[in-house]
Amino acid sequence: MTGAQLSLAVSVFLACAVEAVEAFTIVLAVGTTRRWRPALGGVGAATLALAVIVAALGPALTALPLGVLRVIVGGLLLTFGLQWLRKAILRAAGAKDKHDEEAIFREEEAEAAAVPAAQGFDGYAFAISFKAVLLEGLEVAFIVLTFGANQHDVGLAAAAAAAAVLAVLGAGLALRAPLSRVPENGMKFVVGVMLTSFGIFWGAEGAGADWPGGDASLAALVAVVALAALAMVAEVRSRGADRAVAG
């Protein structure tokens, strides 16, 4: 496996694992509070919808000329990556609450319990599960498609995504509880760095730039983005220390 393939697999695995953990928490809360059958029906329907989206968009993406594909994919990955990274920096610096699966589980449980029970088909359980899996899965489907199409390795990207879902499902079924021990905030930081780096790399290449050292410069770019993000965490944290001193 080349370095680029390894980066692709790790990025897709981590992104998919984070989204799978979030979707699992919501489905678990709805399933345990309401009924499992409609909740799992929602999961199945959303998975089917995601498969249709991937099947429809996959060939369209791979049919684009490489330069155009890299500008579009690079731009979108850079947009997603910067958003993930900004939130991860704010969380790491203490300027935003950390993602807490236990708290989200309790909130979802309370909301599900507050809705009156259905006599026949439980549309609430179905709809909430469907929405959770579709929304969390859409970004992953996009990441799988774009990474895979760009590196001509959709199979590897899909395998990494499937491995992440199976790992989360396995851990979730074993614990039968929200996966609060998964280091989600750290994983989101890493995914933000990787998406931003790949977005910059492919976007600039598609725009006509030649990276010194070719593909090897991607590793340097990841290091630069990671160090810059860590410096920004330290900078935001230091503002809290300044306030404490001033107070």
């Binding site: 203490g94 300027a95 600039a204 725009a207």
Partner: protein
């Protein structure tokens, strides 16, 4: 109505919480394309624009009082 909701959902999916970062991504790649079209070596431009924009969106951010103790350790 359905088209409007679909357009809003697509906007929300692509642009996300902070439109400034979406604009930064467009600028980073757009300026690189312009510089390359002018014959310049511009590989450094996209990371520079992206990281400056990211830092700019964090200006004024500071740890909340509730999180300050946990982040100082």
């Amino acid at each position: 109505m359905i088209l409007r909701r679909a357009a809003l959902a697509a906007w929300d999916f692509v642009v996300g919480d902070d439109w400034r970062l979406a604009l930064a991504a467009v600028l980073a790649i757009g300026l690189t394309a312009v510089a390359c079209a002018l014959g310049l070596s511009a590989w450094w431009l996209a990371p520079l624009v992206a990281l400056i924009a990211l830092r700019w969106t964090l200006r004024g951010a500071r740890p909340s009082a509730a999180n300050a103790s946990s982040t100082s350790s």
